[in-house]
Structure formats: structure tokens, C-alpha cells
Amino acid sequence: MGNTTQNDLELDPELMGAAKPVHSDPSIEIKNLHLSFGSVEVLKDLNLEIDKGEFLVLLGSSGCGKSTLLNCIAGLLDVTDGQIFIGGRNVTWEEPSDRGIGMVFQSYALYPQMSVEGNLSFGLKNARIPKAEIATRVARAAKTLQIEPLLKRKPAALSGGQRQRVAIGRALVRDVDVFLFDEPLSNLDAKLRADLRVEIKQLHQTLENTMIYVTHDQIEAMTLADRIAIMKGGKILQLASPNEIYSRPANKYVAEFIGSPTMNFFQGELSDGAFSCAAGRFSTEGYEFANASAGGSAWFGIRPEHIQCGDEAASQPNQLESRVQLVEPLGSDTLARVGVGENQIWVRLDGQAGLKPGDPLTIGFSATLANIFDSTTEERL
């Protein structure tokens, strides 16, 4: 957990485009959280601090405990040990409805027999809020989300995007400081997902409340988050800004998880400022080692978009001769898989690259943008 605090300094507000976290006033604090189902430990001694107005994304592959963590924060699961604070209040034993949270689910979870209006007002009625107040809040939420014409309809008569809007509205009317999203866009098609993603970001900028967003989609994580927490096996591997996670992954798992196509790796030996492997000897000049005396068996990772080809490769400190094996034209870019000896490497080229399988290709890269990980611990060197 040593990497949870040092990264905040490098947050670039220009890149984030969203409200800057205020560090003095944590909205949510999770202290030494444990959760086990029987003998299976799902969350292990998890600590997390989320600032007021921050957009935090919990990212990880399925089964990493991200949804479980969200359910714990919501109070839908009893924790085995540890504490949860929301807005400075210890809510570890509180009911979900008393925690000051709103939640949006992947399957929308709208009450099928109630109209949209009924769905929005159900929580408020349970809280015995006066009718006039309910009407104002529902109207305001409907206006924000542009679902006013749908208020009288049943969920069955709505499209996927409209349903998810209503689900967000249900969290909105509760007038809470914390929003929890559990993979809210996973059931939508690609176009709608992109649209709603923008809307959620817009909503966050308008409301400026704390949002925790669970997803397995790295694009959503990168575009929405102020900070991303990458989880694996019930632990947070790295908690940092999207930019930091992309350019300085804390370990090999994070490096592989973020980026598509995934980072290229060479296994070899690190000694005397150079990395030698089957493909050749790479200079590590320009690489910022976390530990000056690093050496020994290591992984050398370089992203496909950081590999130069053809003439530009000549100006790079490290060069390799390769042969094109496979070409994937994407329009804006071209992805190519090239063979370097035993290794297969993905490179990202210009959309008009016009490569054919079998073509020879010179690739070049600099260690400045590379990532080097220890072979055994898989931690960044």
C-alpha cells in the first residue's frame, strides 16, 4: 500500500479536466477492511481514502473484489473486519439507506411494476419526505437527465440508455454526497456507452460530488477517473491518476492490464545500465530507476505506441530488425504484430502505413518511455 499517497503530487489538472481533489477533507475512508466468505478471503486489509468531489474508478478483471468493495461501501455486505467512514461518520454498522449514498447497478435494477416517476420517488417515499419536496426533486432530476417525457412510462417501455438514465436519476434524487456506480455501462452497446460516459463525466463536473465507479473497461477508467485503483485478488495494486498508471505502472500486472494492445515484454538481464535479452542489448539511458542499484533478472516493457518504425526508428537509441506477421488496420491507426527472433511484438503505426505480412520492418524505441520490472517480484525497478 506504499504507493497510495506519493502519486497525488503528479496529478495534472489539465489532463484530468475535472474538479481537483481537496486533500484535507476525505469523503470516504476505508480502514483495514477485511471481507471473507467462509474461508475465502475476498478483501484483504484494504485501506483507501477518497477525497471530496473525487471521481475514483475501481478497475480490475472479474473476481478481483472491486464490486465486493463497492457493496461493502454501500452497506449491502457485512464486513468481516475494519471500518468504513463516509463524510467523517463511521457507517460500518449503518443500513445502506442511512449512509448517504446513491447506487447505480449494471442491470439498471428498475422496479418493473412502477413508472419512471415511481422508481425515482420510491426511496424518497420510504424516507417519508413530504410530497411537494419529492415532486421538486423528481422534476429536477428528470430535467438534469432529460427524461421528463418518460416519467409516466414503465421501465419495460424504455430503451437501455433511457433505463440507465432513470437508474442514475434514482441516485440523483436522493441528494447524497456519494454516488456508487457498479459497472453501469456494461449492458449498453458501444455507441451508447460512449455517449453515457460523457454524460456521467458531465454530471460529475456539474454536481461535484464524490463518485466511485466500478468497471473492467480501461477506456471508461482512463476517461472518467481522477484516480484509478487497480485491484487484484482483493488488494489495490496501484492507486494513482490515469496518466501515472499508464506511464509509470507500479508492477507488471498493472502494466499488462492497462493499454490495448497490451505492453510488449522482453525477459532478460539488467546490468551496467543496459538490458540484455535474446533480441539484443538495449540501452536504459533516460529510464528513471526507482532504485539506483537495480540489477539482475528483469522484464523490459515497451508500449506498442512508443515503438517507432522505419526512418524514425533510426533516431532511437535501441533498434531491432523484425518481420511483419499480422496487420490490423483500424483506420486511425494500424496495429502490426512483428516477429523479433522468438518474440512477438505489437507496434502501433500510422493509419496509412500500408504494411503487408512478410515485410521487413526496422523498429526503434527509447528507454525513456519503457518500464522495467523485477522478474521475481514483478515490481517496478
Binding site: 457493496n71 449491502l76 443500513e95 445502506p96 439507506s97 442511512d98 447506487m103 442491470s107 422496479y111
Partner: protein
């Protein structure tokens, strides 16, 4: 866009289907035989119930009635004798209604709450509780007949002693209602639990975030979307309880015998002439209630399923 029909040759459009293929002939003839097999006895019953005794004595079982008479139906309903009582089946009908209605309501209300709690509010030992309940569905009724006799008698006596009244459970409608409700519990709880377990868990979570409690979620979220399973439960219970003979004959007494027991007493009485037409009419009358339930709620059932299929 010139005339395509002249340029396209070979198979085109939907594949033609043969109506009289060997497979279809086999299928329909099997269905026909099966239908006749089940309908013939019903036909004989209806026809016989509309004949007078002289016509029946001629022995033409399959012949249509020469002279249609509703006399046997009237007699079966209001005049047929069981022992010294000659009120016909009508008394048994109302007894059955008085047994069935509370049994169906009580068993379904309790089982639906049971199923909801077992599916959504897992408590320590809930799985064990459920397993025991389901195990109950596999124990033959006959094993429990005598223990229940004792239970009903003793419980009734206890309540009577406590309240100082003449209260009894054995041999009363109340006792039989309790027995029916309890015996419906395993299968109904299983039914409701599985249905509520199929409702997306997130819906339940959303309701909890919205501040709804145990009963609020049950009544406002779960109940409105479970019409189909309630119809299934009602069909099961109404037919099961209406058709019950064993419990009716054991746990009640002659004045409150259900319709099935009374039918048996009418049909199986050994004195005098066997009035086949009256027996047929009585049997049809007794079978009418489950039949009507199937026809009426069958439609509702389909509608309920269709409504459930498009849930948000």
C-alpha cells in the same frame, strides 16, 4: 430493379413445408389416439349422466341419450343419500369450499413470505432450514397420519383447557385447514424461493439502498412482479386440496366431509339400485371445480408469464 423473378433460378424465399409428410402423419395420428383415449371415458360419463335408468339398462354405453334428462344432475346435487343424510353433494361442495379457501390463502401467504426470506434474506442456518423443509416434501403422507391425529387432538385439548372452552382441532374444519396448510408448505416454499431467487439480486439491493425494509420490499417490489408464480401456486393448491380424499376422511367427521369423501359415499353405497346416471353426474360435479380453475387461471397464467417476460 428490373423483374427479378426472371433472373433468379433455384431455391428462393421461404423453404416450402410439406403438410402430409410421414413424420406429420405419425405425429397427428398419435395425438389423435391419445386424445380419444382420454376423451372416451369423459364422453361415456357425460352421455350416461343425461340418460334415464331404463335407457341405461339397455346397455348401449356409447349411444347418445334418446331422451335427455337433467334429473340425475339435480338428484346428485341435492337429493342423493349418504347413510341417513339425503342432501346430495351440495353439502359436501360447501364443506370443500370452506376447507379449500382458507387453506389456499394461509398456505400461499406463509409460503411466499418463507420463499422470499429464504431467497433474499439469508440468515445463519437458512440453508439447513430450507433443506429440512424440502425433505418434508419427500416423506409419504401415510407415515404422518397417526402422529397428526394425536397432535391435533392434544393441541385442541390444550387450547380448550387453557381457554376453558369446548375447543377442538381433531374432527373440525380448522384442524383440516391446518393440516392442508402445513402439507402445502414444502412444495410451495420451494416454488416461491426459486422464483424470488430468479429475480435479479440487484433489484433487491437497489430497494435496500432506497431504504425499503423486509415488508416494504416484499409488498412493493417483489409482490407486484410475482403474479405468475402466485397463479401457479393457486392452481396447485386448489386442485390438490379439492381432490384430497385421505385427509378429509381422516381428520373430519360426517357432517363436514369434503365433496370427494361424500362422492365416494354416494357412489360406493351398496344398498338399493346402482344409479349409474346419478353417480356419473356426481363425479362430474366434483371434478368441475379443478376443471374450471384450469380453464380460468390457465389464461391468467399465460398472461402472467407474458407480463413477466418483459420485466425491466
Amino acid at each position: 430493379m428490373t423483374d427479378l423473378s426472371t433472373t433468379l433460378t433455384g431455391p428462393r424465399g421461404p423453404k416450402p413445408r410439406k403438410r402430409l409428410s410421414p413424420a406429420n402423419i405419425m405425429l397427428y395420428s398419435t395425438l389423435f389416439v391419445a386424445a380419444v383415449y382420454y376423451l372416451l371415458p369423459l364422453y361415456v360419463m357425460v352421455v350416461t349422466s343425461l340418460k334415464g335408468m331404463p335407457e341405461i339398462r339397455l346397455g348401449n354405453v356409447f349411444a347418445l341419450p334418446v331422451e335427455i334428462t337433467f334429473e340425475p344432475w339435480v338428484k346428485a346435487w341435492s337429493e342423493a343419500c349418504t347413510g341417513i343424510n339425503c342432501e346430495g353433494l351440495s353439502r359436501g361442495f360447501w364443506n370443500s369450499v370452506r376447507i379449500m379457501v382458507p387453506s389456499v390463502i394461509i398456505s400461499i401467504v406463509i409460503a411466499s413470505v418463507n420463499g422470499y426470506a429464504l431467497a433474499n434474506w439469508k440468515f445463519k442456518g437458512s440453508e439447513v432450514f430450507f433443506t429440512i423443509l424440502i425433505f418434508g416434501a419427500f416423506i409419504p403422507y401415510q407415515v404422518m397420519i397417526y402422529p397428526i391425529v394425536i397432535l391435533l387432538r392434544e393441541t385442541g385439548d390444550l387450547i380448550a383447557a387453557a381457554t376453558g372452552t369446548n375447543f377442538r382441532l381433531m374432527g373440525t374444519l380448522g384442524g383440516l385447514v391446518i393440516v392442508h396448510s402445513i402439507f402445502g408448505m414444502p412444495i410451495l416454499t420451494l416454488l416461491f424461493r426459486n422464483y424470488f431467487a430468479s429475480v435479479p439480486e440487484e433489484l433487491f439491493k437497489a430497494a435496500r439502498v432506497d431504504g425499503a425494509g423486509f415488508w416494504s420490499i416484499y409488498f412493493k417490489v417483489m409482490l407486484p412482479m410475482s403474479l405468475p408464480i402466485f397463479v401457479v401456486a393457486i392452481i396447485l393448491q386448489v386442485t390438490g386440496i379439492w381432490n384430497d380424499f385421505l385427509f378429509g376422511v381422516i381428520y373430519t367427521k360426517p357432517e363436514i366431509y369434503p365433496m370427494t369423501v361424500q362422492l365416494n359415499n354416494i357412489v360406493n353405497s351398496v344398498q338399493g339400485v346402482k344409479e349409474y346416471n346419478v353417480n356419473m353426474a356426481a363425479t362430474l360435479l366434483t371434478g368441475l371445480v379443478p376443471l374450471v380453475i384450469y380453464f380460468v387461471s390457465g389464461k391468467l397464467f399465460v398472461r402472467g408469464i407474458a407480463a413477466g417476460a418483459v420485466k425491466g
